[in-house]
Symmetry: C2
Amino acid sequence: MEPDGLKTTFENQPSGAFDLEHFLPYRLSLLSNTVSEGIAQFYQQQHRLSVPEWRVMVVLGRYPDSTASQLCEHTVMDKVTVSRAVKSLLEKRYVQRMTDSNDRRKRPLRVTTEHGEKVLQEVIPHALDYQRALKQSLSHSEVKTLDQLMEKLLKAATRLNQQQQT
Amino acid sequence: MEPDGLKTTFENQPSGAFDLEHFLPYRLSLLSNTVSEGIAQFYQQQHRLSVPEWRVMVVLGRYPDSTASQLCEHTVMDKVTVSRAVKSLLEKRYVQRMTDSNDRRKRPLRVTTEHGEKVLQEVIPHALDYQRALKQSLSHSEVKTLDQLMEKLLKAATRLNQQQQT
DNA sequence: GCATATTAGTTACATATGTAACCAATATCA
DNA sequence: TGATATTGGTTACATATGTAACTAATATGC
């Protein structure tokens, strides 16, 4: 095992030395998947919501009358993913769709009071409970540190990816 | 009936108060996806490796003669996912498959020296470079802290999920 | 006003992934 | 030994997801 930041690309790197279990992208993926599974267990089984549907619901709860493209920005999901989630939510009557009379391409969406709000009222507390339980494994200052570290990493990764594109 | 550690809060939770952007599972997912994209850009486009294929390759590099079920453990992937990745890697001649003469159900796998090793020699340095670049956005002690926090969170999430199952 | 470009959103296609059913080899145990 | 259970691994099916092509409405430039 090598200390961080010492080896350079051009040294001989025996393939056996690569350790997936300590590889940051892998560990992030594992953690994210585990947490997502836990949080999704509830709203998927109790309310038949997919991850994209759940995201659309909570963003619409916070920003009513968002259009699909606004939802894309807030959820950082593909527009096709959003379109399909919205379609499914419309069928379930969890959201309703209007038309902007100034620009008839735009279709603002809103959580329905009859069905949608009820779902949110049940799912959100559970999601917050899960988050709270998760954070209880850390101290208050550790939670704050984690926030900062994730923020830094996200910025770094975004920058790195952009550099790679070119 | 509530699983331990997931007590429901019956406080009134207006749905507009939920903030996806600061929700830990969402942020983890966003960070993980961004990092994965960056790391995958290289081995997917240069070497036509999927994420499961890449994982199988590096684990086989470290633990030669692993069977599919051992790969499942090391990669924490579904056995179907592993089976498909192996099938594809066999077709590309990146790995070869033997048969355990003591137990003919077992099919140990090995990275081929001709093609597979060459791929690993190219892909691993790039992966390590990416990780290094990512970690350079943090101080040395922050990297260590991040490691510990992620470890704690993973354990907590795993425990929470198991409790929920019941 | 008309041709073209852009934007909002959906559909078609190919690929990926998980669940369950499945086959083959081995282990268990009466 | 023979019936049954378990294990290693693959296949079938349904679902999910991204890329590209598409329709419809609006904006832009002449």
